[in-house]
Amino acid sequence: MSYTNNHCSFKYMIIVNTITQRVKTTATYLAALPLLLSGAMALAQADAISTKAKIKLASHCPPSFELTQGNHCELRTVYQFYSSLQGRGVGGTQTALPPHKDGYSPQQIDLGRYLFFDPILSANQKQSCASCHQPELGFSDALPRSIGFEGKELKRAAPTLWNSAFLTSFFWDARSNSLEDQAKGPLYAEGEMNNTPKELLARLNKSEEYTQLFKQAFLGRDRILEKDLTTALAAFQASLISLNSRYDQYVHGNHQALNDNEIAGLNVFRSFVARCSECHTPPLFTNNQVAVIGTPEPEGHDLDIGAEEHFKSKKLKAGFKVPTLRNIAKTAPYMHSGVFENLKDATEFYNKGRGHAVPKGVDLQIHWHIWEPDLQDSELDLIVSFMKTLNDETFMPVTPTHLPSGLAVLDDIKNQ
């Protein structure tokens, strides 16, 4: 059994433990805290943990969402106290977020959670979305490039899913414009889950459990439709909110939430020498744009042309979407092909000079903010310590213990 599966069953035991008996010492308790966090929410989400009875989808919203009239879950965050220029959600500290996707029903979100963890979605039923987007690994997979169908290595790294609700483009090359549309990518890509719409829907419709779950989430439908499947997956992903880091506490007014080094790191980060915040712009730490920065490819790999392919423009050759830095410390290795093992190396890349890693004979329109900042090594360390303040997994969803398909939760493909 994989590490992650062990982890999950351990989590289950802890929940039971805390329900039935008091934990004796604070020390034990605190050690169990991260597990409890998700564990307790399992209860809150009415997870079917102990019986084999039919699953009933949650009728309340995940944390950070308000159930409003018409059975919609609407996001609530303290960032809604603020405004932003032109409503674009980029700025400084007390800046509102960009427009976001919400309004899904509690049942759709909960159904999406089951689907997300269920290998039934892949052709060989050996991979789920969570195989490459593992909750414990920042919804990524700790691999430089993800492993796809039948163990084959893919071209790019799995991006985090935290705060996907705020994004306007998806995939490293920005080729998709909605979470719903994005979902079809990995489901049907030959190298990834390798399914077909026909196969997948036939399989789901054959499942009694899924048929009744989809009926709970999409009232008045007799059959499971592809659009309902992608809606549910989008609903779950749009519920992954990470906006309560120590940095956020600083933003909301507690300047003690960050230590002196971290504040110094913030100041280097947003300085016009390092210029990190020009693209990794608060509050999401991405500006949602494509940038050509010219990172090296791993040994033996050809140059990835990135956004050039979809946008059909040489000016976007090797252009990739600016990723969010929230929970970035959880998602090593870094860049589209995972070429940097740690945050320091990733940060140092920007200090090594404009275009230093571009292969000879390749003409890239490198982004204007990539320059020669000439930062001291200690300043790179400060930036890294600042980035670590962006960790927040308060609203970590619960990994189901039983799946509607009856398949085992398979959220780790490393050992296959």
Binding site: V78, Q94, V251, I366
Partner: protein
């Protein structure tokens, strides 16, 4: 770099311009003046949602609080840490070497000038930026700032900023750079020796840039991806390019429109371009008075534009500019440009080959005052017979000849904070924070809300106080982290909301 117009596009432009030349009317050489009429304001604050949805009642007035004095040997930042919104920080003359950051609202940071001696912020070539702010209602004035690597004064999303009467010498990339803010004034500053723009208004709204002197920089004053901005009464000299109105593609805010460039002295901007490789300004040909790239609704009125070797005014789209990426979200064409009367003399006397080639297509010779390359729609020019031009034959006459009715786009009242009722404040903070650890009935990280209600039902203030500085009360729960980053009003609102829950 001294070539701005890409050769590959010249052939296209030649074909385009030639078509215009052969098709144009044989209009009289001297055309009538435009009517004596002002443009009416393109901005109406009564239609500005950001203002109408906000609340002005709780504003803390600038200068209403305490005064903190900083003397040489002390840190300005220590005073900023102490200061509360409304406070003023006076910095006495002398040398300071630090990065000052202001992440709170309504702080006035003022240098004291005594017998000509100023508070000097010296980055010694090592520090990144001199003053960084993200708060609203920030005032920075009377400093002398020099030798920083990044910017002298940089704003990130602060509204209602006032940056005035500073002297800025060689501070790296930009002198004054408010970004992502609304409503600001940049006036009376002297900025020189900057390797990008001396004054750069980026992704901002309602900004007034007036009475500044900017020189010896790559760009004098740049208005980029911004709206409702006025550049007036500035002395812009000896830069590579004088005044710029740009849309830079690839930024999250994608438009520039409603920019008035009027009554400036724009002279002798022939400085060799020392912009960083790859920067947008590195492509500006030395000797450009005004450069309009892709921006819309730009009015150029009543400036003195003289002694520019490439051209007095250059108007281009993205396709003809170097170092520019593409962006589906950005309109690449400069539309609705209005060139009113300007005094133009001795421009274009040593222009670049690409411009000469363009002129040839119109069978023109001489030294060009105004050049337009690429596409533009709905643009106009008054008294065109006064200038040597290329690419403006299809411009109409403007139906106005001044902008006198538009005194300023800066707002009389500060942009207010967003209006949120206390009830909503409590609800948002509860759902956005507390629900990570508490549910109504179930056990999570913290105890159920129901149990808290039993304890605090008649004492919301007590609960609010506990939230701010919790103490460990229950053996079987971890200690709650303090929520003192929320202000007292919000903490009380959360407490009340928590006590009112029934599910």
């Amino acid at each position: 770099m001294n070539k701005s117009l890409t050769l590959s596009l010249i052939t296209l432009a030649i074909g385009f311009a030639a078509g215009q030349y052969f098709n144009r009317d044989t209009a009289p050489i001297i055309q009538a003046n435009a009517p004596e009429k002002s443009l009416s304001a393109r901005y109406d604050k009564t239609n500005d949602e950001e203002l109408t949805s906000s609340d002005t009642s709780e504003q803390i007035k600038n200068g209403s609080g305490q005064v903190h004095t900083v003397n040489p040997g002390q840190l300005i930042q220590d005073a900023v840490k102490l200061a509360q919104p409304g406070d003023t920080i006076l910095v006495m003359p002398g040398l300071y070497s630090e990065t000052v950051y202001i992440d709170k609202d309504s702080i006035q940071l003022k240098g004291v000038i005594k017998e000509g001696k100023r508070a000097v912020l010296d980055g010694k070539g090592k520090l990144n930026d001199a003053i960084l702010y993200s708060g609203n209602n920030i005032v920075v004035e009377n400093f002398l700032i020099t030798k920083y690597k990044g910017n002298a004064i940089m704003g990130q999303a602060g509204n209602n900023f006032e940056i005035r009467d500073n002297i800025i010498i060689d501070t790296g990339v930009y002198g004054i750079f408010p970004q992502l803010g609304k409503n600001g004034i940049i006036e009376g500053n002297i900025v020189s020796g900057i390797e990008d723009a001396a004054i750069y208004v980026g992704m901002s709204d309602n900004v007034m840039v007036s009475h500044n002197e900017v020189f010896d920089s790559v760009a004098g004053i740049e208005i980029e991806n911004s709206r409702h901005c006025i550049v007036e009464n500035n002395y812009v000299h000896d830069n590579t390019g004088g005044v710029l109105a740009f849309i830079t593609p690839g930024l999250p805010i994608k438009t520039t429109y409603d920019v008035i460039i009027r009554k400036n002295f724009i002279v002798d901007n022939n400085h060799v371009n020392f912009g960083a490789p790859g920067s947008t300004v590195a492509g500006i040909p030395a000797g450009t008075g005004i450069l309009i790239m892709a921006a819309d609704q730009v009015v150029v009125e009543d400036n003195i534009i003289s002694n520019h070797k490439t051209a007095g005014i250059m108007i281009t789209d993205h396709h003809n500019a170097p170092n520019i990426t593409i962006d589906e979200g950005s309109d690449p064409y400069p539309d609705d440009i209005s060139i009113l009367d300007n005094l133009m003399i001795n421009n274009g006397y040593d222009t670049i080959d690409e411009v000469k080639a363009l002129m040839l297509t119109e069978l023109k010779s001489g030294n060009p005052d105004i050049i337009r390359v690429g596409e533009t729609n709905n643009s106009c020019i008054n008294n065109r017979h006064r200038y040597i031009t290329t690419g403006v034959n299809d411009f109409k006459d403007c139906n106005f000849n001044n902008t006198d009715d538009i005194v300023t786009y800066a707002l009389a009242e500060p942009v207010p904070a967003r209006k949120i009722t206390p009830e909503n404040k409590g609800k948002i903070a509860y759902l956005g924070i507390c629900t990570g650890c508490h549910t109504y009935t179930g056990r999570m990280i913290g105890p159920p809300v129901q149990q808290l209600q039993a304890l605090y039902m008649d004492d919301p203030q007590g609960l609010a106080d506990y939230i701010a500085s919790p103490i460990k009360k229950r053996d079987d729960y971890p200690e709650m982290p303090p929520q003192n980053y929320l202000d007292p009003d919000t903490r009380l609102a959360v407490a009340k909301y928590m006590l009112s829950r029934s599910n």
